[in-house]
Symmetry: C2
Subunit: 459 residues, 2 copies
Amino acid sequence: MSMQAHLAAQRPRQLGQLTEFASFASVSGVDEHRDDVLACAAWVERRLRDAGLERVGVHEAGGNPVLYGEWLGAGPEAPTVLVYGHYDVQPPDPLELWTSPPFEPTIRDGCLYARGVSDNKAQIFLAMAAVEATLAVDGRLPCNVKLLVDGEEELRADRLDALIAARRELLAADLLLNTDSTFLAPGVPSVPVGVRGMVALELSITTAAGDLHSGLFGGVAPNALQVLATLLATLRAPDGTILVDGFYDDVAPVSAAERAAWARLPLDEEAIRAQAGVLRLMGDGDHSAIERQWARPTLDLNGIWGGFQGQGTKTVIPARAHAKLSCRLVPDQRMDEVLAQLVAHLERHTPPDARLTIESTLAGAPPMLTAPDHPAVQAALGALAAGFERPAQLTRLGVSVPINEIAARLLGIPAVMLGFSAPTDAFHAPDEHFSLDSFDRGLRTLVEFLPRLAALWER
Amino acid sequence: MSMQAHLAAQRPRQLGQLTEFASFASVSGVDEHRDDVLACAAWVERRLRDAGLERVGVHEAGGNPVLYGEWLGAGPEAPTVLVYGHYDVQPPDPLELWTSPPFEPTIRDGCLYARGVSDNKAQIFLAMAAVEATLAVDGRLPCNVKLLVDGEEELRADRLDALIAARRELLAADLLLNTDSTFLAPGVPSVPVGVRGMVALELSITTAAGDLHSGLFGGVAPNALQVLATLLATLRAPDGTILVDGFYDDVAPVSAAERAAWARLPLDEEAIRAQAGVLRLMGDGDHSAIERQWARPTLDLNGIWGGFQGQGTKTVIPARAHAKLSCRLVPDQRMDEVLAQLVAHLERHTPPDARLTIESTLAGAPPMLTAPDHPAVQAALGALAAGFERPAQLTRLGVSVPINEIAARLLGIPAVMLGFSAPTDAFHAPDEHFSLDSFDRGLRTLVEFLPRLAALWER
């Protein structure tokens, strides 16, 4: 039987299984869903076995189960790909905004609706299905495959980090295939080669021993909120340019090839503005909106608070004010360097009548970039073009993806991101969905990718 | 019996009664203290009768009882003074910081400790005691007296406003004597002739339909918190000068006489700095700290909030940000004018990628000034100098005092503030107290004030 006929014959069963997978309320980090998480993990474990994988087992590092399975029959000369995905999902709140219940998967308008179906259940499911189909049709895989299905991707990365550090030998591979990825736009298959890094910082401003009465001390006492506002206003120019000394020094320019590829992408600034739901786009006009989203660093205030926030009026001069901020980093910025630049800027701009406290700093993730001309990237682009019957695009993501950096650091391997969700799939939001067209074409893409990857090693 | 002998003989009884008065937990606006408030009001009603006042009764306008009593035996040729005070008190929290329980009045180190004893029970009690003593010794008062004892001063002024509006004839007088006042410093008797006004405003900034992911939209989406910080930073110069167009236009200069009196006051900038508990005083150096506290307008941020305020990091680009601010006003600023100036400034400085919403404005109280050379002010200064045996000072207060403005607006009378508490008495704070020396000297001052006031009308 041809692969095409096999996939067609198996489609109802595979779609039924994804529906089953998506019906688990596997919300990580919420006590009331602990049993759902464990049931979902057990389901994944069985599914890995059913797909024909070996050495299937549960690995833990103090958190939710992480599932593993492998097929190493291609031999030591063939490449080994470590496929990553996760079965945990975001909380479904606010429930009242869902058209159908989040854990009762429902097909409407050519899409399957359920929490976590796009992020990341359908995508990691398709990897299992591709392995199963190839083994069924060919009796073997063209390369060695290791599958790692995380249970805490939506929660934290430190325990996965520890787990991988403790199992370097088991997980050794030539390439990370990260299924937790997304297209540029619906129907625009794409391979993101870069992800931004992230650092964060929390600060406080103190101007007095305690809050003061504005009637008694208004006019002579400094106001922590005013100091904070004035300090935060020094961070960015009106056009969004970041005014922290040295901030852009290590930013690697985008190659002419990538810049040209981005200019051809079917995504104009008006579409980005509409996606964001903003009145107008912000940012330094010397760089296109796409470049600013993918290859330029950012500084965003994430939270500010201080003084009286209740109903009505309280004429207080607050003594303390707080802010949280974070930066997205791009190659070749270093996390520690950027944090030091931020702290130096804040210290230099704090007036003498206030005290600055850096409450915490977080080196969240470094920026990552896989060379756009890496052969595996080209293999992914080719497989996508075949699976989706249209040209695939070279993109980046503006977000941070810990597993890419963990794999690079602990396993010494580059990451190729190959996922089929669309930015309009409402991941992390009500009515999350995954298109059935992407389900079929994604499966064909993965089936296509494995021999293309193997071929690279044969050359 | 001479007044001096009478006061000495009665002192233990009067002090016992104040102790009784201060033992009521007459916290306004708290359901659990409703019975305490009513019991305290009943006690005040009896005390007014015992003092020899007539037409004693309870007046209400939908809130806590307001007590009234009068003695009009001086006849239509003599002046009528309306004495104001309040029996309600601030909540005693935090209880653990009290040395003795807040409603078990205790004498230590020459002071009576209890919640509300300084603000305002001792002071209004002394007015009752002065009336009683004068009637006992002289058989009459030198002027007509009306006493109004409020039950919601710590809560709101609108119901008192309505009550006075409905009883203009009953409350008609030549002068308001407001006992809810304070000395410049302990042992520095003073008559504040001015109080500042107050306006407040709450605003929001909106930059997007909803919060955005900083990975996806960082670099292109405006950030409501950054817009808010930058907007609020335009309000004040580093030295505290308010940058709102026209803000200072109507500020009346301080008379040479008042300015000279203030320069002689025993309160230097270091003492003010220490009182405020700040690293250094803030403000335009062209005006002394005292002038900035009493006779210059202010603009203070009272609260700001937006985005993520919890533990840890959330890399969000907040779509909404909020701020509350308020101004203290001085003669001849107008509330509506200042609010319009503020709104115009905020609108002008909101960038095109954000939307400003003025959530609410509050015209809290206009600034008030009694002419420093008003004969009744001079009578109060003279009575204080006699009672405390040291020169009394002409001061102002930086706070807003609604009753002064209500009396001016509804009864057409000027206010003289005559109280004996000290800024160190910890009103609104744990271990509130009132000195027994002020108890004795304050009573003598009030006994002295009535004939001095009457004498003004005889001239």
